[in-house]
Subunit: 350 residues, 2 copies
């Protein structure tokens, strides 16, 4: 009744998520010297004396971030924790605690919530993270999951999104595009099912893709490996919005350009074949699919020798002068500019 | 399509929020010795070396926790931060950082979000708290606010919900029931407005009650005062669900009973008169209204002398043997058992 509906109206979608964050961040004023990093990395960084404390949070909403018609609750619980841990690994840190806010509509019985918790606790136990509480409330709007993760990192170990140096090598763990392929398969089968509820979903042989989408594993092992090899990345980020978007973040924080070689981008054979089945370019799955939760990082050239014999880490390009731009050397030869599409949920909502 | 709809179904409302938390908490296993306190207090407590780090979060959902038809966005932003800071003060700590997750439907233009942020940043600046980021996403379901606050406390200063000792005095800051009176007035005017949109809301002379509801102030000053007087409470909690519910928490964590004197419960004259206007007992506003964000705490009897000359702190009763129960000595004489009704959003949603 007190809402003024005659004011100027600028649609959020005109700015997008990153535009909105930049717009609002400019008004923030910090009061404490121990706040090392606020808005703008995978996690906030607080100097708590001996070490740095890392804090990150994600808000996951039904029908925006997940679809319960094909996402089992136990897997969803696991994923909600996993993607938050990934943010802490992306700072080269160790996640220690999670706090979960849960909004529940009356559609969910206790048994459903138990399944969700089972998945969350499974992830917590696997990655040795303490579940330390949260807030549970009813919701009129389906399931709402808000996860906050707290991590720790030695001051000399923390890695930000930049700055990388001009000659640094760009590396990525695992393979890319599989989660997006898994999502597309599930969406296709949902459409088939809606048209004819007697049809059984055809997911045969696609286990790897479905698991990558439904139950991703954050790359704790990569962090441990880098430490064992005595390699400290110069920049790092996790691949949540797609390779293209993450490369742009590293370039922005480094004030550099980058050259990526298409034939070096790791794509699993099954992802590749599935993309072709859908008449799409597999490289686009890797660049713009997202939700891979792999780690994208830069290393000094001198560290290359330590990495090159390793399975599971691909060197996909190198940093370059800012003026040269962010480019992809395609398999067929031409060099094209990489544009980030990412998963901008704010723009998607138009 | 994979949801099994034939399973056993137990309604969450049968357990309520606290029942659900207890039920789920029993499955949690902690891995890190630095996790001092998990589920079950106003904030989680982590030993970060020199000090303790406190973390608390709240999920605020449109039409469950707030009604934008009478809650201006700037006030809502302020309140969302304020109520989280209150959790840190309730641990005798100092809030340092906040992280905010925001879900926005396309109904909200940039200008609305700016108002919301203006309120949040106002509260951050007033209480010297650093806004360090978060997550912004679109929502299909109105406005969703998820606030995480990080605080700090010296190890020797932290105060939990208990245990208090049997003879400790029960104290509360400020006055109670005003926010609930404010809410009822706004709800009444909304009903009038719905029936006839030409009617102007009649809020004359009710400023104090409206402000208590729309823009509460967390009691940083009480924490500072107690420290100045060299009083460390033996137990403390903030009054978010109503005095009755909070007293029960302190009794539970202390394994004690409690005696409260009705005539000692601080109720502002305007709250009192408004309750009578609504044909309700003012004491019930204080006991079950909630959202006061005052501090309820226990002190050793020996500390009474330091407090007694102070305005703004009321001694309302004392802890007692567990077997004597949790009782209210009414103004008219009879002693009645205090039952917590609180604001159980999970039960409300039935």
């Amino acid at each position: 009744m007190f809402e003024n509906r005659n004011k100027k109206r600028t649609e959020i979608s005109e700015l997008g998520e990153f535009g909105l964050i930049d717009h609002l961040a400019s008004r923030i004023q910090l009061h404490h010297p121990e706040t090392i990093k606020g808005v703008g990395d995978d996690a906030a960084v607080i100097d708590t004396g001996a070490n740095l404390t890392l804090i990150s949070k994600d808000l996951l909403l039904e029908d925006i971030h997940f679809d319960l018609s094909y996402h089992p609750l136990k897997h969803l619980g696991y994923k909600a924790i996993a993607v938050n841990l990934s943010d802490i690994y992306a700072m080269n840190g160790i996640p220690k605690q999670v706090i979960v806010g849960l909004g529940l509509s009356s559609r969910f019985p206790l048994e459903a919530i138990e399944e969700l918790y089972e998945g969350m606790i499974l992830a917590c136990n696997k990655y040795k993270v303490d579940f330390v509480g949260g807030d549970t409330t009813s919701s009129k709007q389906g399931l709402i999951l808000s996860v906050t993760v707290v991590g720790e990192v030695k001051k000399e170990h923390v890695v930000y999104r930049g700055p990388a140096a001009e000659s640094d090598l760009l590396c990525v763990s695992g393979d890319l595009g599989a989660a997006y392929a898994g999502l597309l398969i599930l969406e296709r089968e949902k459409t088939v099912f809606k048209a004819d509820p007697n049809m059984q979903p055809d997911l045969h042989g696609k286990d790897y893709l479905l698991e990558r989408f439904l139950k991703p594993e954050p790359r704790e092992d990569v962090i441990q490996l880098l430490q064992k090899l005595n390699i400290k990345p110069t920049a790092m980020i996790d691949v949540s919005d797609g390779l293209a978007s993450e490369i742009k973040h590293i370039c922005k924080h480094s004030e550099l350009g980058c050259t990526v070689y298409e034939d070096k981008i790791p794509i699993d054979q099954l992802t590749y074949d599935t993309a072709l089945d859908f008449n799409m370019d597999p490289t686009l799955y890797a660049l713009n699919g997202g939700e891979d939760y792999e780690l994208l990082f830069t290393i000094k050239q001198a560290d290359f020798i330590k990495l090159k014999e390793l399975d599971g880490i691909s060197v996909i390009g190198h940093m370059a002068d800012k003026n040269s731009g962010i480019n992809l050397v395609t398999k067929s030869g031409p060099v094209v500019e990489i544009k980030a599409q990412g998963w901008d949920h704010l723009k998607e909502s138009e």
